[in-house]
């Protein structure tokens, strides 16, 4: 199945990226593994509901409850991705919007943090002691952990910039969520 753009992740950032791409007249597919809220009452709910409702009206293909498991590459170019429901999605461009730890866009183990879908390079302090600050309300270093990107948002795979994959949203790191 071929689209101009495949957005991996259908949260707030993924939906917005999809909307922006669809507004340019490109064909878009959003793969959303959980968390995306359904649009039963778009008018009464927050922006994610409204985004999703609008996406369907714009002709965006929304795959709810499906997960991108992996992709196949030609050098620095991502050709296609494979989903848990057995779909192969090809696209000229991919957008990685899988969020951070809660949505499993990033996974942390005792000694490392990795991005499980495409294996994008993640910046994190090597010394685990430096991941957190004992003062709960102080800025938490783990909140700054995110995928490494070029100036225009393209991810890196094993130190090499990917040609056609950008990252958006929380997976980039930053913010003060613990304090919030």
């Amino acid at each position: 199945m071929k689209y101009d753009v495949v957005v991996i992740g259908g949260g707030s950032s993924g939906c917005r990226a999809a909307k922006a791409e669809a507004a340019k007249g490109r064909s878009v597919c959003v793969v959303s593994a959980g968390l995306t809220l359904q649009a039963t009452k778009p008018e009464s709910e927050g922006s994610v509901y409204a985004d999703l409702y609008e996406l369907r009206k714009m002709g965006v293909a929304v795959l709810r409850g499906d997960t991108v498991l992996s992709g196949s590459w030609d050098g620095a170019k991502l050709l296609e991705v494979y989903t848990a429901n057995g779909l192969t999605l090809q696209a000229d461009e991919f957008i990685l919007a899988t969020g951070r730890f809660f949505s499993k866009g990033l996974v942390s183990t005792m000694d490392t943090v990795f991005e499980p879908v495409l294996g994008a390079d993640v910046d994190f302090p090597q010394d685990r002691e430096k991941w957190f600050n004992a003062d709960f309300f102080a800025p938490q270093p783990f909140e700054q952990i995110g995928v490494r990107t070029t100036a225009d948002g393209h991810i890196f795979i094993k130190g090499k910039a990917a040609q056609n994959v950008r990252a958006v949203g929380k997976i980039l790191g930053g913010g003060r969520h613990a304090k919030k």
């Binding site: 959980g34 809220l37 369907r56 409850g65």
Partner: protein, 403 residues
């Protein structure tokens, strides 16, 4: 998902985030239903301690699977609820009614020879009043019609011979609706598959997939029928044939729930059993099959049935429909129609069923299509009754557009 230490249907992974509750259509209309989080992972802890903690309100679960689609932690919420219903659920207050609604094969076989009589008697007010009063089948519900010639009878009489001129074959699981109520769907299936250059074989033995039996707590019967189907699937796979279906809920039952709810082995056939639209789209995409469509001037609204969304193959159908010239396609926002198989036929559920469906009916009326397209037959009954728009299976649309 972590593999070690995994709890039954992963219920320990629940973080109590309540996202499942926000997407539950039943919770929105029924204050008696405690919602998927409480019914599934929360109460499972209690039920494991003492079955007396089983909550009767679990009967309100539609098994629409939205909770599972929304769960960020991979908890099989709806499966937990279905299994609890089977294991701890008390006897129904309407055992005869439930058996009639669930035993599609038996009722279908009995009704088919008398179809004209059954079809003209069932909609009569006094009959409906009796069904309502004595059995608890709601009188406001429109019943599906029975066909006097079963699909299988038609196939054996008029189509089986022709099939042998093909060199490649698929096996067809037609399902009860196609066989007893609407054989035209099967005829359309045969037409489409033949146009793709494949012959159609029936399975050696076919029983109702059992989705209605599970929903009505008749686990033993469901298991018996499932085993017969699984054996037939095995034989089809041995012959190298893909098993195709036309109904989304049967497909979901046989691919997923045989294993998740009945603990039956599905590995032998799971990767060879598909909805016909997925199979057809992939054949066209790979270039093996070329279909010629004539223009079909219709405005269609595609309704993604709940189990269809869980299967995740809606894009195949959407792309297929887009190939037909002249078709104006609107994809409806995915909302539950509320009937949930036999659920909406029951008197005590009728109001909930219609309240859930109201959202979807309003959307359909706004789009004002010539027909709604969906893979699910019970959605079809509900939408035709609630929105007053004819509902077609995508295969029937494709068959109508074939040159």
């Amino acid at each position: 998902m972590q593999k070690n230490n995994e709890s039954f249907l992963n219920f320990e992974a629940c973080l109590k985030c309540s996202i499942c509750n926000t997407v539950c259509p039943m919770m929105e209309v029924n204050a008696l239903y405690p919602g998927p989080k409480k019914s599934g992972p929360d109460q499972e802890r209690y039920r494991l301690k003492d079955p007396a903690f089983y909550d009767y309100a679990l009967k309100y679960c539609l098994n629409c699977k939205r909770c599972e689609l929304a769960c960020p932690s991979g908890v099989q919420v709806a499966d937990l609820i279905q299994r609890a219903k089977l294991q701890y659920g008390s006897r129904s207050k309407h055992p005869v009614r439930d058996a009639i609604l669930a035993s599609t094969d038996f009722v279908g076989t009995m009704a088919s020879p008398f179809a004209p009589i059954v079809n003209s008697v069932l909609p009569l007010k006094p009959v409906k009043a009796v069904l309502d009063g004595a059995f608890g089948i709601d009188s406001r519900r429109t019943f599906p019609k029975y066909s006097s010639e079963k699909f299988v009878t038609w196939f054996k009489r008029h189509a089986q011979k022709e099939q042998e001129k093909y060199s490649k074959f698929v096996s067809y699981f037609h399902g009860c609706y196609c066989n007893y109520n609407y054989p035209q769907l099967g005829k359309d299936f045969v037409k489409v598959v033949n146009a793709a250059g494949y012959g159609v074989h029936l399975l050696e033995k076919e029983r109702c997939c059992g989705v209605a039996l599970i929903a009505n707590g008749m686990e033993k019967q469901a298991r018996k029928q499932a085993l017969i189907n699984i054996e037939s699937f095995g034989k089809a796979v041995e012959k190298g044939e893909t098993i195709l279906t036309s109904s989304s809920s049967c497909t979901f039952m046989m691919r997923n729930e045989y294993q998740e709810i009945l603990d039956l082995p599905t590995e032998g056939y799971r990767d060879s059993l598909f909805l016909a639209c997925k199979w057809l789209y992939e054949k066209i995409e790979s270039g093996e099959v070329k279909l010629k469509f004539k223009p079909l001037k219709m405005k269609l609204a595609y309704h993604i049935a709940c189990h269809m969304q869980k299967l995740g193959w809606q894009n195949h159908t959407i792309e297929l429909l887009k190939m037909i010239p002249g078709v104006e396609l609107v994809v409806l926002n995915q909302k539950c129609c509320g009937i949930a198989g036999t659920f909406g036929f029951k008197k005590e559920n009728y109001e909930y069923s219609q309240a859930i469906g109201a959202n979807l009916f309003a959307d359909i009326k706004e789009v004002a299509p010539d027909a709604v397209v969906t893979e699910c037959e019970t959605c079809k009954w509900q939408i035709e009754m609630g929105a007053g728009v004819p509902v077609m299976n995508p295969l029937s649309v494709i068959a109508a557009a074939l040159e």
